[in-house]
């Protein structure tokens, strides 16, 4: 049972990564690409962490994975903000 749950969660995570990549490739301008990328990716990472935590089952493993996800979200938030503002300041061409 828990194996199937883990597989399902990881599959969902992979599909979010796919969505992020498609968004990065297909969206027309910098800001919409940033919007697609940072959200979808971190959701994907979250689902993969959740799936692996179910697979692992131990408390320490789960805390490690949760920590990875939380830090990834922090970094992505700041990065997305910094890049968006940098792109905003860019003179028109």
């Amino acid at each position: 049972m828990s194996t199937w749950l883990a597989i399902a969660l990881i599959l969902i995570g992979c599909s979010f990564f796919l969505a992020g990549t498609v968004g990065l490739l297909r969206f027309p301008d910098t800001h919409s690409r940033l919007h697609a990328l940072t959200k979808a990716d971190n959701l994907g990472l979250g689902f993969i962490c959740a799936g692996l935590a179910v697979h692992d089952g131990s408390l320490t493993g789960t805390i490690h994975l949760l920590f990875v996800w939380a830090l990834a979200m922090m970094a992505a938030t700041v990065s997305a903000f910094l890049i968006a503002r940098w792109a905003d300041e860019e003179p028109e061409h």
Partner: protein, 323 residues
């Protein structure tokens, strides 16, 4: 599983080669830098696949924390300095040297591959004395056993190389007018402050954890030192460390602490053994922890100073913020 692994490894290998080639041949300076950073990511996955988490850790700390920031800063200095749009002038001499360089590298790569294939074929032939020394050693992590005890002499020379590299940079700084690589922006962007406030304790804790766990699991002085160095890079990039024109005494001590303690230990060992660098019986663990700790401090200080390309740094007084 084996076919799957084969496809995975083939993709990794081809990806590495392609990224390396593009990083060198790509026309834009910035694109090259980003390609090189992606190369670091793929390299870390490759080390993971090869079953070398120690190297993957070092690669992660150095490529994500140090090289990327260093190359981006160099990119900035090049763009600001030349006033050119994005190209460094392609000197004809570099083009002429390219083919001989490619030939030499290919030859060297071929020789290394042949040697490595033979080593891999004889893998079972690890000398029994070595295998026994590693398994009966008081420290549990075979990499740490190698680095600190069995091949301690190599490690001592390695940290000396790092110190020499810093001295070389100091000499260059004295003799040439290098552009300030990292003069930070006048204002720190929003959200960087909270990020640093959170990242500092987390990075310190993780570095100490990696140092401590290095005795029995992947980790150790080099990985922990590189992580602390990355923290120093963060502080330098955001202007929390300010460049100084001379090295303060405390930083000098930090620079020589690791190699110095290691060298003193090597001499002291002659009093209880006939070999330098031999560990005293029964106190191997304690001695190794002490040496690793000093090495970690020295590696962190050296890397931060190397990145900042200044003789010294001091923490800016953070009481008054200028918006």
């Amino acid at each position: 599983m084996s076919l799957l692994s084969l496809i995975f490894d083939a993709l990794l290998g081809l990806g590495l080669l392609w990224l390396a080639w593009r990083a060198v041949s790509s026309p834009g300076l910035f694109a090259s830098v980003v390609l090189f950073m992606v190369f670091g990511f793929v390299m870390a996955i490759t080390w993971a696949r090869l079953g070398a988490p120690d190297l993957a850790l070092a690669e992660a700390a150095i490529s994500a924390g140090l090289t990327g920031a260093l190359l981006l800063s160099a990119c900035k200095a090049a763009l600001t300095d030349t006033g050119n749009d994005n190209e460094l002038p392609d000197e004809p001499s570099t083009v002429r040297r390219r083919w001989p360089a490619a030939l030499i590298c290919t030859g060297l790569g071929a020789v290394l591959s042949i040697v490595m294939i033979q080593v891999a074929a004889n893998r079972a032939a690890v000398p029994p004395a070595l295998a026994e020394a590693v398994t009966t050693h008081p420290l549990d992590n075979p990499i740490t056993v190698m680095l600190l005890d069995l091949r301690g002499y190599d490690t001592l020379l390695e940290v000396t190389v790092l110190l020499t590299a810093f001295l070389g940079v100091r000499i260059l700084l004295e003799q040439t007018e290098l552009p300030r690589l990292h003069a930070p922006r006048a204002t720190t962007p929003l959200m960087v402050d909270p990020l640093l406030a959170m990242a500092t304790p987390v990075l310190l804790m993780t570095a100490l954890y990696l140092f401590w766990t290095g005795m029995e699991a992947p980790g150790g002085a080099f990985q922990a030192g590189a992580l602390l160095g990355a923290l120093g890079v963060m502080y330098t990039l955001t202007g929390r460390f300010e460049p100084l024109d001379r090295t303060p005494v405390l930083l000098r001590l930090g620079l020589i602490l690791g190699p110095g303690m290691f060298a003193i230990f090597a001499c002291l060992a002659l009093t209880w053994s006939e070999w330098p660098l031999a560990y005293p019986a029964g106190a191997t663990g304690a001695a190794a922890v002490a040496i690793e700790f000093t090495l970690m401090i020295s590696i962190a200080v050296t890397l931060t100073l190397l990145f900042s390309a200044t003789p010294g740094l001091h923490a800016r007084h953070m009481g008054v913020r200028h918006p």
